[in-house]
Amino acid sequence: MLTVVGTVPQVDFPLLEGVVSAEAGGIAIAGRRLEAKRGTPALLAAALAAAQALGEIEVRAFLVGDVGLGDGSRKLYRHLTEVLPHRDCAVLTFHYLQPDVDWHNRVLFAVEEMAVRPLLVADAGFMYAAKMSGQAGAYDLFTPDAGELAFLADERAPHPFYTRGFILQDEEGAPELIARAYLHDNAARHLLVKGRVDRMADQDGVWASVSEPSHPALEAIGGTGDTLTGMVSALLAAGLEMRPACLLAAKANRLAGDLAQPDPATQVAEIIAHIPRALAALGQGHRPAGGE
């Protein structure tokens, strides 16, 4: 089972925990429908699309409304500290949450009390907090983009906004940044770095890169990183080992983007619709009806 923790950009969205189901253009949880525009709903929609292709994987979520004030995130953090020790899942993915080191640490201790340790995946705001807490090594996978990798590599930066200029280099410097992130204990055990070239790495360095198919327009499309994190989380929950899961997710994400024939105005929901076909083309799951 995959469990995702994140936020919804609505002030009045209550704290919900439950099974998530796929809906046309979005997801549903506890009778509420959410469009897969970007952020955690996009991550969940991509995870569900992958889960559908791979077979029976239950996807659950803890969601709360938060528009950046942090109130919803803190409510969710408190809830997690209370209930996580009584939950179980194969993969626990943390996503768009207000970065807060103190709450991050309390949540991580609640994870420690779970009967069986899940694989821990972090992206977005929770990854920022994990790095700032000095506990990045407790995570199995971070999925930063190029800017976030520079932040992980800068041992002094408290947020990507403060990443020092000399570190903000071209993507070609990614292997050096990865090494620097590991040098200062600011990376998870595995990194899946999203970019013009997707790079998979661990403390020994980059072990694989995926650069095709290539569409520069994908960089502009909000949510394409969320879909990658959602897919790799689902693949891990399906039982794939870390390396094949990262490699397959990177390939499928790029292929789904390619199938959408994107331009910079394409919305991520158009790409998510192609995930089952992309996975099928890569030999995973069945080819959807109407597929070529």
């Binding site: 950046g68 970065p99 502009a220």
Partner: protein, 180 residues
Amino acid sequence: MAFAWLKNKAKPASAPKNADKGLLVFDNTSEVIRAEGLLKRGGWSIRVMGPPPEIRTGCDLVIEFPLIEKLDILRALEEAKLTPLSAVPVSGPLLEPVNLFQVKDFGQHLMVRAANMKLTIDKRSLIIVNISGGGCPDVPYLADQLVGKLLTEAPSPRRIGHTLCGYALELAYQEMRRRC
């Protein structure tokens, strides 16, 4: 006890205490006291303390605040005419916000990146077509509010955003407006 190592693990040297906090520097202690009251009444978790040696401006008191909420806090202070001399990270009071912009021209579309935030417009219509990057919860909210709107009519991220990601998007937005 699969995680027993975690409790005993010493924090790496790269994780300074209060790494997610910032410092508000004011000209005089009267402003500090007024700002402290304003922010506490606003529900922010703050504390007054002495400044670190790196800070050589302002008075002998600073306010520690949640750095991620810098945009929201600065807006509240400005509305009360209590603009600080500076707002800096505890982890490096001399760190400056990213001021490098990366611009990508796709032909019909133009993208500006500031730090971890990217804003893309249609050059002919000046409509904001996409916002990507970032990890704070106001990013999806800001995208909802800005995408599909004219660059000249969309609300500025500085006005409706709350976090450092919102602040970075504001820089990208301002740079895009400067260029278009």
